[in-house]
Amino acid sequence: MADLRLVLVTPEKTLFDRPVASIRVPMFDGSAGIYPGRAPLVGRLGIGELRLLGNDGVNESYFIEGGFIQIKGEQVSVLTGAAIDAAKISRKSAAEELEKATAEKASSDEEAAIQARKLERARKLVKMATVD
């Protein structure tokens, strides 16, 4: 089992379904790397960058927002609510989002939790933004 296949699924469509060399996913508690031959796993994902190294040696990355990962044999399925190609994240809109999230005022615990989530998302987006 020297192969690895990544399937990236969002509720709207399957974004990615190709063999890859290696993958790095943001788990809920930190980053995790996956190489061929990984033991079966079901896990929860966090917000952040999904990075993959294609068989042709080209790096690709996606911004993903939570979800689940399932590793079964050579197939790695990533289910996420939203995934954005890193090459399409604009610095400007990411900065705007961060500004908006920062400006929000939370008055209850739940609101604070939502705001924290938004802030995390915006910060990660800003970090990953590549185009203007």
Binding site: P11, L41, V42, G43, R44, K72, A82
Partner: protein
């Protein structure tokens, strides 16, 4: 001759209407294909979710989650009605709204407090006419609802349900079975009856097969996350189904209308030809009669 002129006018208008219905049919066909593609793509997500739920089942886990628990007493229920923004789609809206009215009557009988949420201008107009109060109304769901839009509503339901503000959520929509079969149904989404397409027991009985998974974090924590995700996917599917069914309904209705217009144009043309011939014959008879009188 006045008769013939009237017929020409009618013939023209019938032909014009035919042009419109034919065009609408073609548009609905192309939109249907797009909506169908989206629905198939979305099915993949639901499939994967069920797969993971199945994997969790192998971990000898008891399926318990606030969203799965049935309330002993239903005090407050929410009815979400999905209709279209535009008309001319045959019995599509009618069927959904008929079901809705029946459901409301049932709720009134049972003495359950309910609130209505309606998507689509057609449904909103109808319920306004029936003087049924609506809590929320949405008109921004077009042919291709996005997950983010649906998620906004879905998250609110999840929060309300867990907090105990609502005890039940029903969705009245048109479910898509096959291309030639769609039925208006009312489905109870909360409490969630089952997580996967098959029942949970069935999934759980498959233990011992397949790989031995490592759960990260624990299976319970993953379950706590996956139940809301499954609910959202299910709600999203309702919207997609409704969109696909609407296009099919419109396609069928417009096809019927085009055929009717064809038939009508044919009979009008025939009537016109007869009237014209009758006119010519009577004119000829007059001339011949006139000439005969001169002799």
């Amino acid at each position: 001759m006045a008769n013939a002129r009237l017929l020409v006018k009618r013939l023209k208008s019938v032909r014009n209407i035919r042009k419109i219905t034919r065009t609408m049919e073609l548009i609905a066909t192309s939109r249907f294909k797009k909506a169908m593609d989206r629905a198939t793509e979305a099915a993949e997500y639901t499939k994967k979710i069920s797969e993971i739920v199945g994997d969790l089942g192998k971990a000898n886990l008891k399926f318990s989650h606030p969203l799965l628990q049935e309330r002993t007493e239903t005090k407050k229920s929410v009815l979400l009605v999905l209709t279209s923004n535009r008309g001319l789609c045959g019995g599509y809206n009618g069927a959904v709204l008929r079901n809705t009215l029946r459901h409301i009557r049932q709720l009134n009988q049972d003495g359950v407090d309910y609130s209505m949420e309606v998507s689509g201008k057609r449904g909103i107009k109808f319920l306004n006419f029936q003087k049924i109060a609506m809590e929320e109304s949405y008109t921004h769901f077009e042919d291709s609802p996005t997950f983010a839009q649906v998620d906004e509503i879905g998250s609110r339901y999840v929060e309300d349900y867990i907090a105990g503000r609502i005890d039940r959520l029903d969705v009245a929509y048109t479910s898509f079975q096959t291309i030639s079969r769609q039925t208006a149904v009312i489905e109870t989404l909360l409490p969630l009856s089952s997580l996967s397409e098959g029942s949970t027991e069935e999934v759980a009985s498959g233990s011992g097969l397949g790989p031995d998974y490592e759960f990260h974090p624990s299976a319970e924590e993953i379950l706590a996350e996956i139940v809301p995700a499954a609910f959202r996917a299910k709600l999203f599917k309702c919207f997609l189904d409704a969109a696909v069914s609407e296009q099919i309904a419109r396609m069928v209705a417009m096809k019927g209308a085009t055929e009717n217009a064809d038939e009508m144009a044919g009979s009008l043309k025939q009537q016109y030809n007869r009237a014209r011939q009758a006119g010519i014959t009577s004119e000829l008879a007059e001339i011949i009669g006139g000439a005969a009188a001169l002799e």
